[in-house]
């Protein structure tokens, strides 16, 4: 316990780094999965193939991805971009199926009503389909956020400092409290982000509130 108290500064700094590195892939994953999920939803014939292909991205081991991405993107193996891109790929892999399912969850009668009163295709997507798909998209985003925050720790293997540092450093120096502190910190920020997403969902989708 004394290790934790003495190193609160370090833990705090790594936590902020960790959040910063996780946030971008979560946001990018959401933004990229919207067109991908829409594509899978819209074109029924290719739906199975698209979703399976995107889902398979998640099975690529992260270390392999870290090795593959630098030559493809022309970046350094040790670059933070390497970690961000890898985490974004995993986020898209999770989110795409959620977005496709979310769009399918919108009542066809509502979509038809929107058409009947004169929504154009583009406007209907942003103002009707997507907001109504919101609850399922949010469910996916919560899974993605927790997964990304947890997965982010592997960044330390390519020399990117975040809470993963507490794992490798604690292991090398055999400081068990350091490893435990890392685990607790990851869990705490995962829960915190999850909670913030739930709050944001309530604020953005007031019609879904119970008894509302």
């Amino acid at each position: 316990m004394s290790w934790v108290v003495e190193n609160l500064d370090l833990i705090g700094r790594l936590t902020v780094e960790h959040l910063r590195q996780s946030a971008l892939p979560i946001v990018l994953g959401l933004l990229l999965s919207i067109p991908a999920g829409w594509f899978a939803f819209r074109f029924r014939l290719t739906r199975g193939v698209v979703l399976t292909a995107v889902g398979l991205l998640y099975t690529i081991p992260s270390l392999a991805l870290f090795a593959l991405l630098p030559p493809l993107l022309g970046i350094s193996f040790l670059s933070e971009v390497n970690l961000i891109v890898a985490l974004t790929i995993y986020a898209v892999a999770i989110m795409t199926r959620f977005v496709a399912d979310a769009l399918s969850s919108v009542e066809p009668s509502v979509r038809q009503a929107a058409d009947a009163v004169g929504y154009g295709t583009w406007r209907r997507f942003w103002q009707v389909d997507l907001p109504l798909a919101g609850p399922v998209v949010l469910a996916g985003l919560r899974v993605t956020a927790v997964s990304t925050i947890s997965l982010c720790t592997v960044g330390i293997l390519i020399g990117i400092d975040n809470l993963g540092y507490l794992f490798t450093n604690g292991y090398q120096r055999q400081i068990i409290p350091e490893i435990l502190a890392g685990v607790v910190a990851v869990v705490v920020i995962a829960l915190l982000v999850d909670w913030l997403l739930v709050l944001a969902g309530r604020a953005l989708m007031p019609w879904t509130r119970k008894g509302a």
């Binding site: 509502v110 038809q112 058409d115 009947a116 009163v117 004169g118 929504y119 009707v128 109504l132 019609w207």
Partner: protein, 277 residues
């Protein structure tokens, strides 16, 4: 005025939903398309705002073919009331009513002010304006649906089995309300239903449809009841049943009307009694 000219709708699998249908819907009156499921009545209705495109034939509004018009703009110019209201669940009542005005670019506050006025017109309390559709009863949702259709003051109102999903008491209330509104507003209304009583109650012109939108008979309710064009029409409107097959029976207090099962349905009044009866 809306005019169907030899309109046909054939689906890729070969079914003829509509086969060579022609009809004139006079302006400022209510035309009811009535038929059982498979009669193509909803298909016909949806052709008027290009939700369904005819395979052949033309539809004209005031002499202008709608095929030339942009479907989205066309839809905004026509009020549409759907079964179950068809409200957007994520918009408050006031914004649902203001939908078409907002789509047409009316500033938000102005659209909302107008929406509040229309709530009055359809007999909804303004306090409901900030609710979501799920917080309303079926009848209230349907009124919001009507308000939304009226908000942009269209000339044409399409009503697609609007009262099919509400209970009989609320339905009767909404029907009365529809008659009242029509007396005030004089829209060109095309109303679809499978309920012949509703058709006779609301329609100035009633179109009875058989499978494939074949016209069995067109006329005013009186014309159809007095002179059904075919066995099909007679059986569809139930001339042999209920309150449409009455015979007279003499009683100590004058002549009464009795239905096929022997129940007295009403009293026969002479012309002189009118107004006092």
């Amino acid at each position: 005025m809306i005019e169907f000219r030899s309109v046909t709708k054939t689906y890729p699998d070969g079914t003829h939903a509509v086969d060579d249908f022609s009809l004139v819907v006079p302006a400022h009156t209510t035309t009811v398309l009535v038929g059982s499921s498979g009669s193509g009545k909803t298909t016909l209705l949806r052709m008027i705002n290009r939700m369904v495109e005819p395979t052949s034939g033309t539809i004209e509004i005031d002499g202008e073919s709608i095929a030339e018009r942009d479907p989205v703009r066309l839809r905004r110019s026509i009020g549409y009331v759907l079964q179950n209201g068809g409200l957007l669940p994520h918009h408050r009542v006031v914004d649902n009513v203001a939908t078409v005005l907002r789509l047409e670019g009316t500033p938000k506050q102005q659209a909302r002010d107008r929406a509040m006025e229309v709530l009055d017109v359809v007999g909804l309390d303004r306090s409901l304006a900030t609710r979501y559709p799920s917080q309303l009863s079926g009848g209230q949702q349907q009124r919001v649906g009507v308000a939304r259709a009226l908000a942009a003051d269209p000339n044409i109102l399409l009503m697609d089995e609007p009262f099919g999903a509400v209970d009989p008491i609320v339905r009767a209330e909404l029907q009365t309300e529809t008659l009242r509104l029509q007396q005030e507003l004089h829209k060109t209304v095309v109303f679809v239903t499978h309920d012949i009583d509703e058709a006779f109650l609301l329609g100035d012109q009633v179109v009875i449809l058989e499978t494939g939108a074949q016209v069995a008979q067109i006329g005013s309710p009186s014309e159809i009841i007095e002179n059904p064009a075919s066995e099909f029409v007679a059986s569809f409107i139930g001339t042999e049943r209920g309150a449409r097959a009455l015979r007279t029976k003499e009683t100590g207090h004058g002549t009464v009307l009795v239905d096929a099962t022997g129940r007295t349905q009403g009293r026969l009044v002479g012309d002189d009694d009118e107004g006092t009866a």
